[in-house]
């Protein structure tokens, strides 16, 4: 009976998380389009609702009602699988991301996370890596030149940054002594992990930009060279899932993990702990700031070439991550 209650509770919570993430992702598209517009001195969506507030709904209706075309010579199974494989794992990362401490409403203790696994960080990384197979499968299954090049480029970039990313997260883990994301946040009550881990933070920024395919590293999409990269042959909602998964959900969730690893999760800003602001609000404020930082980078920088990215990953980011481990080890030896 207790198991049944747990299952029902987790199902309901997962539904809330997934629906909430969908709505958030829809409105993150609006945030991104508004931001991109104003960076280029144009207003962005303006006429659907007040200042374009209903634009995401109009977009969703449009994408859902479009004709769903599948090329004749495509590998049908992989073609269908690819869009789901890009989308589902990136939303599954949410299962291990904690958004705050447990709090009580009307006598119920509410946990603002689905599960607190003691290998949460590894799970998040694993799901993030799996979602990239969606891109590579899409490139292969489309049976067309441009998607193929896009998929191969993504694979080349993937090999580069995954190693650096793996080493970069070692620093915070060493300091916290746990893989659990909740445990990592609780270890940052005093000093945030950004202080000794600044090099790892640079590597993580690089890895998140590369994983979500945002601009300095968006070689797999490269609309100027590759038409649309791996999404060239996709249409309707199968197409819509890719940017939704990569640009919005993955960026959002990986921003959350960045905040948890380096900026103290739901701990308040230093010197502002006396403010009556709950932890979740602090968390979302930080999360939004990091997300906007990624948008800012995206709409500023031009694109690297693939060889430059792999060079950067292997020659700069990997040594930086290793140096970070060394620095953190010394830090732990000195300060405990």
């Amino acid at each position: 009976m207790e198991i049944l209650g747990t299952v029902i509770g987790i199902t309901i919570k997962s539904l809330i998380f997934i629906v909430g993430m969908f709505l958030a992702a829809a409105y993150l598209t609006l945030v991104e389009r508004k931001f991109a517009g104003h960076v280029q001195q144009r207003p962005g969506p303006l006429h659907v609702g007040y200042h374009g507030l209903l634009q995401p709904i109009a977009d969703a209706l449009k994408v859902l009602t479009k004709e769903d075309l599948v090329p004749d010579n495509a590998d049908k199974f992989l073609f269908y699988l690819a869009s789901l494989l890009a989308f589902v794992p990136s939303i599954m990362i949410l299962a291990v991301v904690p958004f705050g401490e447990p709090f009580e409403i009307f006598g119920f203790t509410i946990y603002p996370y689905i599960s607190d696994v003691n290998v949460g960080l590894l799970l998040a990384l694993a799901f993030g890596s799996i979602s990239l197979y969606g891109v590579i499968f899409a490139g292969w299954a489309s049976n067309s030149k441009y998607p193929m090049i896009g998929g191969l480029r993504k694979a080349a970039v993937l090999i580069g940054y995954e190693v650096a990313l793996g080493f970069a997260i070692a620093g915070p883990i060493m300091q916290a002594g746990t893989f659990s994301l909740k445990g990592i946040v609780e270890a940052q009550q005093g000093l945030w992990f950004i202080i000794p881990n600044i090099l790892a933070f640079v590597v993580i920024i690089f890895a998140v930009l590369a994983e979500t395919g945002r601009t300095p590293f968006d070689v797999q999409e490269a609309e100027a060279e590759l038409v649309g990269g791996y999404v060239t042959e996709y249409s309707a909602m199968k197409f819509g899932l890719f940017p939704l998964a990569e640009w919005y959900i993955a960026t959002f969730v990986l921003s959350a993990i960045t905040v948890i690893l380096f900026f103290g999760g739901w701990n308040p800003l230093p010197l502002l702990g006396w403010l009556p602001i709950p932890g979740m609000v602090w968390f979302f404020l930080k999360l939004f700031a990091v997300f906007m930082f990624f948008l800012w980078v995206h709409w500023t920088l031009p694109r690297y070439r693939v060889d430059q990215i792999t060079e950067l990953a292997w020659k700069v980011m990997l040594p930086l991550a290793l140096a970070n481990i060394f620095i953190v080890a010394i830090w732990i030896m000195i300060f405990g």
Partner: protein, 200 residues
């Protein structure tokens, strides 16, 4: 002989390389732009008036007493009433046109010996709005107006006939004939007429 000067690509200094100084410079520019006012026009609701020399849809000036002297010479051979297109069917516009097929000009000789223009069709779908026809016209008849919304629901709507052309030019001349001829927006006259456009 073309002389080629080879320039070394300036190398980044170590400080620039380590702290991504060029990235930070670029991001400073974007964030500055983010807080600036937008410079766009909300097009269907808000329309800019083009300059007088704008090469929009074509028009035919009518016989209204403001003709150039060359028209006075040809006038006595033509059957043109007051208020009708002053076209003399000389085919100069078609000769000058890079896509001559878009013109369909027909003229006949009436029993009294005068020439009458029956038909002057322009398929503006093929027109590139280069303005060569307006320069070739000896009687200042075919002109460019400032009308730029030429979209129609059918391809046939893209063909301008003699009456449409005259109406368009009459409309254009009523609005802007007396306006001094100027090149571009920095003119004082222009800003006096409809306000200085703020570009940024």
């Amino acid at each position: 002989m073309v002389r080629v000067k080879y320039v070394e690509r300036p190398d980044l200094t170590n400080t620039e390389r380590i702290f991504f100084i060029d990235f930070i410079k670029g991001m400073k520019i974007t964030i500055k732009n983010f807080f600036k006012k937008t410079i766009t026009t909300a097009y269907p609701f808000e329309k800019l008036t083009p300059p007088k020399r704008f090469r929009g849809a074509h028009g035919h000036r009518v016989k209204n007493g403001k003709e150039p002297p060359s028209f006075k010479v040809l006038e006595k051979f033509m059957e043109i009433n007051e208020g009708e297109s002053r076209c003399v069917a000389c085919y100069m516009c078609q000769q000058a046109c890079p896509v001559p097929e878009l013109f369909k000009i027909e003229a006949v000789q009436l029993p009294n010996g005068k020439k009458k223009v029956l038909r002057f069709d322009m398929n503006l779908m093929n027109c590139m709005y280069c303005g060569l026809c307006t320069e070739a016209c000896p009687v200042d008849c075919i002109i460019h107006t400032d009308i730029y919304e030429t979209a129609t629901y059918h391809r046939a709507g893209g063909v301008a006939h003699l009456e449409d052309l005259s109406k368009r030019a009459e409309d254009f001349d009523r609005r802007r004939f007396n306006e001094p001829d100027r090149i571009w927006i920095d003119d004082e006259e222009r800003s006096k007429l409809w306000g200085q456009i703020k570009w940024s």
